[in-house]
Subunit: 419 residues, 2 copies
């Protein structure tokens, strides 16, 4: 499949872009000799890379607005966990379809997802054409029976993942150090190395996690993971808020990657912001994520970029920290690199994951700086066209079957509440 984009604006100049075999094949002011399966007119549009969502729980769209403004433990035990216990693969499929639709409509081309009933999410992402890293929620609570079940489930899922759409990669998802045993983490370490898999894990989201780790293991979380041998360039540590500088130096040493979720961190009041400047000083690769809809409550990475840049300025008391271009970089090329994807940039040879932006919108005028406008003024609604692996997933803000997807999610939410 090949696609020729005409009249699009790249860095202020009108160009044509030829996409073939899922990659950006040619870029030039004009490409007269190129014959493509489809020619798409992008007049009035700026072309930019798509956004990479580094942390989500896609099917939690079903819980959007179901419970907010609550104390964390009460929220989990009385509202979220009781509903999650009732989920099945079909409900997850409908929730994840809604999530994929929302992401496509707000310019996200990839998401890294930790959730139950992974195959439901895989089916949704596969059908809708998004790129994703998918993993089960691995929790054993120090219980040997649960540990064995997790090993079985993940081993089977890994085998099954070979039948998933080729844009989907299987990842291991140990939930956190306080929900997975040392034995469980050691298994993850070995299985990931054996099968060359990434590991996606919550790390130091709250102060309690750090204090409990010190009490239980006599070590801060990063040192604890170092002792187990889980630190490596396979590890994608999400949240990473309550880290001290020594821990960040250890993450640098092992080339661990981190993902910041500013909206969720603020909504759940985790008490501290992501130590962005320290990560930059240490050269740790940092991306951005939305987290799930129960704690955000949307999946709009444009909003997440703005929250990220502004939260850094506010908490460091320095308006120069994390300028727009850095937030943009976190959501694009950094996000891609964290997951081993050769995307997030508009250049020949890169993955053809890109967006056409409708620059005629009032919130993008007068247009002094596109990157500033995208980070500080835009919402996902500025995206006119979303392209993943060279395939158009949204044309002029229309995604095929969107009414049916929204209706399906509404019905799934009603069914869930009635169970």
């Amino acid at each position: 499949m090949s696609l020729l984009l005409k009249n699009v604006c790249l860095d202020g100049k009108s160009v044509e872009i030829y996409l073939a075999d899922g990659r950006i094949a040619k870029i030039a002011p004009e490409l007269p000799g190129v014959a493509a399966d489809e020619v798409y007119d992008g007049r009035g549009m700026a072309v930019v890379p798509g956004l990479y969502n580094g942390h989500s729980h896609a099917a939690m769209t079903l819980f959007r607005g179901y419970a907010d403004d609550m104390e964390l433990y009460q929220w989990l035990t009385t509202r979220i966990w009781p509903l999650e216990a009732k989920l099945d693969e079909d409900l997850v499929y409908h929730g994840a379809r809604l999530a994929c639709l929302e992401m496509i409509k707000s310019g996200t081309v990839f998401f890294n997802d930790m959730y139950w009933h992974v195959k439901g999410t895989a089916r949704a992402a596969g059908e809708l054409g998004l790129r994703a890293a998918l993993n089960a929620v691995m929790i054993d609570l120090n219980d040997p029976k649960r540990f064995r079940k997790q090993v079985e489930d993940n081993t089977r899922l890994y085998a099954e993942s070979r039948t998933f759409d080729k844009r989907l990669q299987f990842v291991l998802g140990p939930h956190a150090i306080y929900t997975v045993s040392e034995k469980g983490l050691a298994w993850v370490r070995d299985f990931a190395a054996e099968h060359d898999l990434l590991i996606h894990m919550h790390l130091s989201e709250t102060e309690k996690e750090v204090v409990d780790c010190i009490n239980e293991h006599g070590l801060r979380p990063v040192a604890y993971l170092e002792r187990i041998g889980l630190l490596s360039e396979r590890l994608v540590a999400v949240h990473a808020a309550w880290l001290d500088e020594e821990e960040i130096a250890i993450l640098e040493k092992y080339r661990v990657k981190v993902v910041h979720n500013p909206v969720s961190n603020m909504k759940l009041a985790v008490g501290r912001s992501f130590p962005y400047c320290h990560f930059v000083d240490h050269g740790v690769l940092a991306g951005l994520g939305t987290d799930g809809c129960a704690s955000n409550n949307n999946l709009d990475m444009f909003e997440t970029m703005k929250f990220s840049a502004l939260l850094q300025k506010f908490t460091t008391n320095d308006p120069t920290v994390q300028p727009a271009a850095e937030a943009w970089r976190m959501a694009t090329v950094n996000g891609a690199r964290i997951f081993g994807l050769d995307g997030g940039e508009i250049a020949c040879g890169k993955l053809a994951d890109l967006l056409l932006i409708d620059t005629s919108r009032p919130e993008l005028a007068p247009g002094h700086s596109l990157v500033s406008d995208l980070v500080y003024s835009a919402s996902g609604a500025v995206v006119d066209t979303t392209i993943v692996a060279g395939r158009i997933l949204m044309r002029h803000r229309r995604v095929e079957g969107e009414e049916e997807i929204v209706a399906g999610a509404r019905a799934a939410a009603r069914r869930l509440l009635s169970l």
Copy 2:
């Protein structure tokens, strides 16, 4: 002019709403005998009050993305003030038109604006049909000549404001205690009382302002204003971040109103968040504003509501603070009451300032709670129809002449940079 809204959803029930003479005249499941100048089908839409933007500098849309991520003083002196010195009424008109368009498209029905060349803003708001409180930027820098000029200008503007559109109210706009002399503030106090005008003023945005006030006057800013006699229910104090509890008790005593600008406060790194819980404890009426596009960089009050609720949770380390319904209230009925407007609620007799929300959008599904979805998930793009004073300003996301307005603002920004 009268308008009959059919098939709209109010608090989960389908109703018809009859708007006449700028007010909500009738609400009922059906209104069979009513004959209106226009019947508007709101099938699939929820009706909610419009949003009241408590603090803006509308024409600064021309500076959107022109200078970001800079230290405050450098930003003002090297980027903003040099351009502002070149503005004229026509440039302000074009900037304010873009602002009005952006506000209408994101569900704002009213804005309270402090800026140069007020008549440009009045013309824009009048033509586009928004409600507004408008004021000049009153700055005398302790200079008697400037003081006399400010008095002349404001006296003349007040007289001219009687020719403004009737939805526009003239307000006095002393910039701040550090830019207006004591004599200037005393004049504002007397002129406002004589002509029954509101006063719109920046207050305690930064720590520097407080420290300088103590050094110069031996008083914190609120005590200084109390001594001058500027505190009354006429005063709308914006930002109000660096206040102690004693100052808040004084504001309560004089029934001063306050407006929080969370996005601007975070972007400019003012170092402290609005003391929301104290204002609530003292019963001080608090609204929300976007501030200008140079420090936000958009005018989307949906985004501002989310930033407000999340910033409170994050800074108080308590996820229960400022639940969605309270942020919603700040942006609607509180905003209206601050400016003496009988709006912000859908009820008979209230101002016909309302929005139809497109609930079919993915980010509003599955729809457990409309107010949560509007505050935590929506952007202004969920607004399908904006109605001010019973007149439809946006129909199914189309505003009359929008392309010309955007083009006009682009041309104005180019002209400004070339001056």
